[in-house]
């Protein structure tokens, strides 16, 4: 799963100025860290839904993405 996130999904999210990192997979709970533009995205839920859909399509696995936003200090008020 880590490799899939890092090699398949992460480059696409980077293309939008975002950043995703694999943190853990416990049962069907996939915890991902979102940085960059993703960290302040108002509609990140749409992206996590897409990730869940892609994982289902590509790996046949049903997961629930738990997003962890790491927002840099200079966006604290954004």
């Amino acid at each position: 799963m880590r490799e899939y996130i890092e090699t398949v999904l992460a480059p696409r999210i980077q293309g939008d100025g975002g950043w995703v990192e694999y943190q853990s997979l416990e049962g069907d709970r996939l915890t991902l860290v979102f940085r960059g533009e993703c960290s302040k995205c108002l509609i990140l839920n749409r992206c996590t839904a897409w990730i869940e859909q892609k994982i289902k399509e590509d790996k046949g696995q049903t997961v629930t993405v738990v997003p962890v936003r790491k927002k840099p200090f200079f966006w604290d008020r954004v």
Binding site: R12, G15, G17, R35, G36, I43
Partner: protein, 999 residues
């Protein structure tokens, strides 16, 4: 009695007007027919015109569906028929989206849609009612302008499709909406007279009172009221004269890759062309030959249309350069090539030589530019940031004359407000009020149009222009072109003030350092291109060899592209960095392939002077490892532009004496030339000449001392270094103190290891038996966040000036902090070296790819590495190798020949034997000038030599045969000459005809 503040909770009259304005906007569309026969295929762009489809095939697309994926392009197709009831009306295609779309209907480019515009007029471009729709759409999460609230609210990589429609509109409602936009902007702006604003609110409210927002009756009456009471009123007088120039700034790469800029550019051009169809008075300016080149290659149909609009004068190419490059880090020859290839394109395709440089977004401008511009057919310079983004001082001019390092001048304009505006009256009034040359400069320049894929000018902006003359309180406005504005107001204007110096931007000082690897590669390839061209050009001119002109030009262009002002400075997302590094590797391979054809066994010295300075020669059998490469040290003793064998320096035993002197691990080191005290951390606390005549460093300051600082510049993370970096120093643990790690009869290496929690840093201090120069190499595994590593030098030199290389001459910068101007320049850009000298002696630091220099009280620091997280989380993470040479010297930098040493430090010997006639070799080498470039002219008729005076002195160069004086565009004078006086810091270009009978 206690003061009780009255808080109004009831609706104010202005809010009532605003509320009704919202209703009015909803009344624009009269009839809407949803386009239901649509399909979409998600794609991901992988090169300029290549896509992959990782998300499956085509699927139906209906309103309410999710569409777009991260970094996503989508191809939308469909069919529709114009409803019969629309017959005889203007029919629009409408689609509200956060994405950027190029729309083709029945095979014709009808227009573009993006967050700033949602409909396209179809009638002029279709000839039947049944429509085949093709949309190329790119969604980017980063809006073109974060000041635009409406756009910010819909950002995101997954979007909800709101439906596509064929529609008709109520023209009178739309027109009234434009009136309201104009007048509400004034009414809400503090830039305008308070009485006029009250008057506007009152009369606008009366106008809207006439509208029935259900039936849309009364709209014409409302418009008439505005015409008769507001536009007819001339009691409120404005002042000023503002030139309005339509423009769309386009970052080739930034929060997107350069492959995406191809479509962004095409859509921008398409939209401007369609506006020109509707508004014949509209004129638009567009920069960067590269963007025209990509349009020609990937959108030939649009390019053909564009050429017509250029010929008619509506569409104006501005900015003579290939792209809008960073103007701090690229060397002089790169800047020249930006003009050469930019102008070459504009001449070939449009028959135009563009006479202006148009660089609104760059992060300051090197002092070498005026000369390069003047010799590239450019008399006018437009920039912006120093007038609007300085953080300390207000730049004192907007329209002025800029004098360069050599005394060349250009007319310059740095408009008083941002280069991206949406042409609102408040922005125009703000521009006039901020304009500082009202008395002498003529009109002030206001650029309008969204940028960065926001696609420039909108219909609304042009409707504003048509209404401006009706508003008496506004400045006078004129829609004009870029060149026309410059010619009208600046040309031959004797009253303009002169700015003699660099155009330093008091912001974005981190861009000299961020993404170290890009800077290092750029420097290396600039010189490798020089050498490659030189070898090929000599071979072609004097041996009749084939000249790989196209291949060399392609390599140059790829390098120039990566000098874009958000690529080389490091202010971009991670994929942009990967693209740039891949490009650099490709250029390197391609140049190697060219070299391989002429490879020889002997070494060629491409420098135009004797090479007797310490030089590292790569050799698999060599005893020294430097920058990961095995080799040996030599003093080649090769004459300039000559080849020969190079032998390792002869070693001598027992030249080095080392004794520990303190428990901290300090070492006292004696060489035949000096005595050195090397601290445990690699810094130098004492550096005495062996005869005791000179101490080079101050023991109360660090010299070659590493400092790790907390680097928190805020939002502009990759861009800025702020003075607060010196507030917090981070512990840098010495894990292994300085110790001797290598010694032979020529050199010795002392190594010290550092670590932070995350990074490992090795410093190698390299001493030489027969030289005072000390080379320092840093090998780094860097994993910091918000840290800045600098190395400080506190020499025992009394001076108040820092002398910095610019790549085409040197600039002296004050070390004092007496004025706010001096204080603001605490971090500056230099090229290959900086020098601190007093009468009779000095210390220079020569680098191989570093640019940022910090000016501190009595000390100078070289900025080595940063670790920023925006826009790229991983910026500068990983391994680095950094080298510099510390050179104590007699005399000042010029007397000590620091320029030559710096060239030698950056230009390796190469395996080649170019056959250069001795007379030519002598001419070049005896001129004392730097041989900046040797190439065949773009037309293949001349051997072109470019020589630059680097030391600030007059020179005379005598050529063995007649040569033609050339400008930097390689236009030759009619007469030949064989001798030329060269002024300080002058760059000359001469052409030697390859066919002598043509002289």
């Amino acid at each position: 009695m206690a003061h009780v503040k009255v808080i109004r909770r009831s609706m104010r009259p202005e809010e009532w007007t605003k509320l009704r304005f919202g209703w009015l906007q909803r009344g624009i569309y009269e009839n809407k027919a949803e386009v239901t026969d649509l399909t979409i295929r998600d794609a991901r762009q992988i090169s300029e015109n290549e896509y992959e489809y990782p998300d499956g095939g085509e699927r139906p697309l209906r309103a309410g569906d999710m569409y777009f994926t991260p970094d996503g392009t989508a191809f939308i197709r469909g069919h529709a028929v114009i409803p019969p009831e629309f017959k005889g009306r203007d029919v629009y295609f409408s689609l509200k989206t956060a994405a950027e779309m190029i729309v083709k209907i029945n095979g014709k480019y009808v227009g573009g849609i993006d967050p700033n515009r949602e409909r396209i007029l179809l009638n002029p471009y279709i000839d039947r009612d049944d429509l085949t729709i093709e949309i190329e759409a790119y969604n980017r999460s980063k809006p073109d302008d974060e000041r635009n609230d409406a756009v910010m609210s819909i950002r995101g990589c997954r979007q909800i499709f709101e439906g596509a429609y064929l529609c008709t509109i109520r023209e009178n409602v739309q027109s009234l909406v434009y009136d309201c936009i104009l007048l509400l902007d004034i009414a809400n702006s503090e830039y305008f007279n308070e009485d006029y604003r009250k008057f506007l609110f009152a009369e606008l409210s009366r106008a809207l009172d006439k509208v029935d927002f259900d039936t849309w009756a009364g709209v014409d009456e409302a418009a008439a009221h505005i015409e008769q009471t507001i536009y007819a009123n001339t009691d409120f007088k404005g002042s000023g004269d503002v030139a309005l120039v339509g423009h769309s700034h386009l970052d080739i790469a930034y929060y997107w890759r350069r492959i995406h800029a191809v479509q962004k550019n095409a859509r921008t051009v398409l939209i401007q062309l369609r506006l020109m169809d509707k508004y014949p008075e509209f004129r638009y300016t567009h920069t960067q030959a590269y963007t025209y080149e990509t349009l020609e290659k990937y959108y030939p149909e649009l390019f053909a249309e564009l050429k017509e609009k250029i010929a008619s004068g509506q569409f104006e190419p501005v900015g003579a350069m290939y792209i809008e490059p960073d103007c701090n880090v690229p060397a002089a020859e790169s800047l020249i090539r930006q003009f050469l290839y930019g102008q070459k394109y504009f001449r070939e395709k449009f028959g135009k030589t563009v006479d202006n440089a148009w660089l609104p977004d760059v992060f300051g401008n090197s002092w070498i530019m005026p000369q390069i511009m003047r010799k590239s057919g450019v008399d006018y310079f437009v920039s912006n940031k120093m007038s609007t983004w300085n953080d300390t001082n207000r730049f004192p001019h907007n329209n002025f004359i800029w004098k360069g390092i050599d005394g060349s001048t250009v007319y310059a304009c740095v408009p008083p407000t941002h280069f991206i505006t949406w042409n609102m009256p408040s922005q125009i009034q703000e521009n006039w009020e901020a304009y500082q040359d009202k008395e002498v400069g003529g009109q002030t320049l206001s650029m309008y149009g969204y940028g960065d894929g926001g696609s420039g000018v909108t219909e609304e902006m042009l409707e504003m222009v048509r209404r401006f003359p009706k508003v008496s309180a506004m400045p006078k406005t004129e829609m004009t072109g870029g060149a026309d504005f410059l010619h009208k107001n600046l040309k031959d204007n004797k009253k303009l003030a002169v700015w003699d110096g660099e155009l330093y931007l008091e912001m974005h000082r981190g861009t000299f350092t961020t993404k170290s690897n890009l800077k290092k590669w750029n420097r290396m390839l600039e010189f490798k291109l020089r050498d490659t061209e030189m070898i090929c050009a000599f071979a072609a001119a004097f041996q009749g060899a084939a000249y790989p002109a196209d291949e060399i030009r392609d390599c140059w262009k790829k390098l120039l592209l990566n000098q874009f002002h958000d690529i080389l400075p490091g202010s971009h997302i991670h994929p942009v960095y990967e693209d740039a590094m891949a490009d650099y590797a490709e250029i390197d391979r391609r140049l190697d392939a060219i070299w391989a054809k002429g490879a020889a066994d002997t070494w060629f010295n491409s420098l135009p002077f004797d090479r007797d300075m310490l030089t590292f020669i790569p050799d698999e059998k060599g005893p020294v490892v430097r920058d990961g490469v095995k080799g040996f040290w030599a003093r080649p003793n090769l004459p300039g532009l000559a080849s020969g064998d190079v032998q390792p320096l002869e070693g001598k035993e027992n030249w080095l004496s080392i004794s520990p002197i303190r428990s901290e691990g300090d070492l006292l080191i004696d060489t035949p030339l000096y005595r050195l005290c090397l601290h445990g951390d690699g810094s130098i606390s004492n550096w005495w000449e062996q005869d005791g005549s000179r101490q080079w460093v101050r023991d109360d300051r660090g010299f070659n001392k590493l400092h790790l600082w907390a680097d928190n510049p805020g939002m502009y993370d990759a861009w800025d270094i702020l003075p607060n970096y010196r507030d917090v120093e981070i512990d840098l643990t010495v894990t292994e103190k300085v110790r001797l790690t290598y010694q032979d009869g020529v050199s010795a290496e002392f190594t010290v290891d550092f670590a932070t929690e995350k990074s490992a840093w090795r410093m190698i201090v390299r001493l030489f038996r027969d030289s005072r120069a000390i080379e320092v190499e840093h090998i780094v595994d860097w994993h910091e966040k918000h840290r800045l590593m600098k190395v400080n030098f506190g020499p025992n030199i009394l001076t108040r000036e820092l002398v910095c290389d610019t790549s085409a001459g040197f600039v002296k910068r004050p070390l004092t902090k007496n004025t706010t101007w001096e204080q603001a320049r605490f971090e500056v850009c230099h090229h290959k070296w900086f020098d601190l000298s007093e009468t009779g002696a000095g210390v220079a630091v020569i680098n191989s790819g570093k640019y940022g220099v910090g000016i501190e009280e009595g000390e100078v620091s070289l900025s080595l590495l940063r670790s920023t997280i925006r826009p790229d989380i991983t910026s500068d993470m990983g391994t680095h190798s950094i080298k510099y040479m510390i050179v104590p010297h007699a005399g000042d930098a010029m007397q000590a020949g620091i320029n030559n040493l710096a060239f030698a430090y950056n230009v390796p010997l190469i395996k080649a034997v170019p056959k250069l006639p001795e007379a030519w070799r002598k001419t070049i080498c005896e001129s004392g000038l730097w041989l900046q470039s040797v190439k065949l002219s773009e037309d293949g008729k001349y051997l072109v030599l470019r020589l630059s005076e680097q030391d600030g002195r007059h020179a005379l160069v005598r050529f063995p045969q007649g040569v033609y004086d050339m400008n930097m565009l390689e236009d030759a004078d009619e007469e030949t000459f064989d001798a030329k006086y060269v002024s300080p810091f002058e760059i000359i270009t001469v052409g030697y005809p390859l066919k002598q009978e043509e002289i």
